[in-house]
Amino acid sequence: MAAVDDTTIQTLKVESPAREAWRMFLRNKSAIVGLVLLTIIIVVTFLGPLVYVIDPFDVAWAPFTPPGEEATVPWGTDYLGRDVLAGIINGGAATLAVGASAALITIVIGVTIGAFAGFYGGFVDEALMRVTEFFQVLPPLLFAMVLVSLFSPTLTTVAIAIGVVSWTQTARLTRAEFLKIKQLEYVTAARSIGAGNSRIIWKVILPNALPPLIVSATLIVGVAILFEAGLSFLGLSDPNIMSWGLMIGSSREYIIDSWWAVTFPGAAIFLTVLSVSLIGDGLNDALNPRLRER
């Protein structure tokens, strides 16, 4: 009984696509869980240090104190006697900031290259896709390790390095969307009223390519956070800024003696990435309803 004719559609209160998507998103239970989880993580990360005022680098108690044994250090201490809870609370900022900015860099590079390749086609496309294939050949983590070690290990370098090594998939996705959309009539229409290339790329095609790009952006944030954690774990990040990966990396030799010092920060990374990917799944259902079966 889906026979609704045109006039009924017109008389229905029209909902904006964004609202519609938001409504669909809220119907998805796991997406809500992800959103709540991420909100908690962000609040703890940015307000936590104001409430729990302990320097994560200071020796807070005897080394290897297990969690629950001493009220001053409820989550225990690591091999140097540093407070694990303080590390968790303070380590989120670097992880989240680098993850988010690396994702942003990834998306800016990927979307720009993909947009130019898809829009201009021909030689430009050929050349840009060859560059993309070339970057796909380089193992991303190794390449990022080289970049970070050649240029000093600061948070900025780490974020840029992650962006430089992981944009290829975004470029491919953007290119595919552009190839599809540039043939549609409203693009021809925009051209016929004299819109220039850059206007068509950024104001006409890009907004219409956004739904799949937004979904992939959430996945990129997750991957970037894992990436940052990996580099910090290897000791290739700023050693003076606490991060979850750094906590695990520095306690690497003491896994058996202080499981809590590696388990908690890892769980924090896991939950952060999980919350982002749950949100991504929810966005996917809300923005790309046709792909829902996948």
């Binding site: 390790m145 070690s149 240029f151 890892g266 896991f270």
Partner: protein, 327 residues
Amino acid sequence: MSALVAIAQRLFYAIILILAVVVLNFFLVHLAPGDPADVIAGEMGGATEEVMADIRKSYGLDKPIYVQLGVYLGRVLQGDLGQSYFYNAPVADLILGRLGPTLLLVITALIFAIVVGTFLGVMASRNPTGIFSNVITVLSLIGYSAPVFWTGIMLIIVFASAIPLFPISNMYDITLEGGPIDHVIDVAHHLVLPAFTLGIIYLAQYSRLSRASMLEVLGSDYIRTARAKGLSEPVVVGKHALRNAILPVVTIAGLQFGGLISGAVLVETVFSWPGLGTLALDAILGRDYPTIIGILFFSSMIVIIANLLTDLAYRLVDPRIRAGGHK
């Protein structure tokens, strides 16, 4: 034969890519802040003036940049990846000594992920609400969201004390005495946890992928034909459906070799596996640039070769593109 032409084209293209990686490495050394000779020597501070002069001369660092590039390309093409002043050994030798363990780890993990992932995907496609689908859901959560080094560490904690079934570190037991078979078993035993850790990421992806592709294939007309022939369900699923459903898995697996090597760096570090990953980390911490750049070059070459092999494998499995040209 057009198939041979296509393969020749791929080979040619692969060679171009390898050259491009060499050029990139050259520019990485020159773009880094400071004197390229310092970079090549490694900032160990131990390099004498004599060594530095030697480097400047042998890399032609006093000549124009394009000559330097030519010199560099020539050296790499002769298999000379430079000298590690940190290990005091040729980089190529260092890498070749560590290549085997890494390939063993990576390929085992990949085969594990493909075989088990496809199996899970096939079983789950038979019953979308059954236990296998739940296993895939849990695996996806871990595979997509847990940092691989942390998964490895969790396994170490579990297997170190609670279930001391597998060794948690290194590749072999140096105290072991016995014949070659004992040593093979020993390595295999040590391989279990690292390969499982690395494989679990891809296991999650391949099981989802093969479930989706199996569901699509099972609904296709040729499966109905196979059933109408009187073939039993295991033959329909295992022969007619699987051969088609595995195509996307093969494609993706080939493309992910770079990611696999990246994961191996972390997994090797966690399990002290004596491969390229641990070498890379040690080289970086020791600022041994020739070694780290050599590893980047070598691992890129592995990815290029893996892509070539995937292309060939795909041609073998799918007759539609065997004739020539890739889609």
